[in-house]
């Protein structure tokens, strides 16, 4: 079936170091992929989305590359900031008539000084 896997439940790193949060997916149709960020006591908000033309999306210093060969959409940032501490979800929407959204379990990112 269709699913999203985020292997890390918690990632802790020091400010200034690079960030990489893993996301792999399983899908019967070529999907749209999304990254959401959720700060404490707030709603999930869209951070990035995959494009239909293979452009690499970027926002707030974060970027992600959709690799169809490895079914991955990892989230990366070159230098972590304290304000990046949040819960990050990878999500998938199928391109067919099925309108389900599949979310990973989320990765809690903690950035320390």
């Amino acid at each position: 079936g269709d699913s999203v896997t985020q292997t890390e439940g918690l990632v802790t790193l020091t400010e200034g170091l690079p960030v990489m949060l893993n996301c792999t997916y399983q899908s019967t149709y070529s999907p749209f992929l999304f990254w959401y960020v959720q700060h404490l006591n707030e709603a999930p908000k869209l951070l990035l989305k995959s494009f239909t033309d293979n452009k690499r999306p970027e926002h707030q210093g974060f970027h992600a590359t959709l690799h169809k060969s490895s079914s991955s959409f990892h989230l990366q940032k070159s230098s972590a900031q304290l304000s990046d501490s949040a819960l990050y979800y990878c999500a998938l929407r199928l391109r067919n008539s099925n309108n389900r959204i599949f979310f990973g379990d989320g990765t809690q990112l903690v950035v320390k000084p």
């Binding site: 959401y36 709603a43 999930p44 869209l46 989305k49 309108n99 959204i101 990973g104 379990d105």
Partner: protein
């Protein structure tokens, strides 16, 4: 501006009572979703809808009903609330289509406590 509005934002209910959570969207989206979020479980889909008059079961529908009387409104109903339903509930709206990569938009959430 696109928006999803949930009400109430906070609710305290008694065990066995009826609770209705409401969601309104002004985005003209066909699809709407109800999730609950608990520590250690991420976002879990309860019910969703493709359009007015339709409701579909998600992954954890037991103990919940949903109603979509119009394009704009999607309600989640707990007929007999239990303490295990204490959680934060999020509503979202979104589009479908093979060439539309627009992402679902979330409401601000409803914090429900069942005592």
């Amino acid at each position: 501006e696109a928006a999803v509005t949930q009400s109430p934002r906070n609710k305290v209910a008694v065990t066995g009572g009826k609770v209705t959570l409401s969601c309104n969207q002004t985005n003209n989206h066909n699809n709407m979703y109800w999730y609950r979020q608990d520590t250690g479980h991420g976002l879990r889909l309860i019910h969703y809808s493709y359009g007015a008059g339709s409701t579909e079961k998600g992954d954890i529908p037991d103990g919940y009903k949903a109603s979509r009387p119009s394009q704009e409104n999607f309600s989640l109903i707990l007929e007999l609330a239990t303490p295990s339903q204490t959680s934060v509930y999020f509503c979202a709206s979104g589009v479908s289509g093979t060439n539309n990569n627009q992402a679902p938009l979330f409401g601000e959430g409803t914090r429900l406590s069942v005592l």
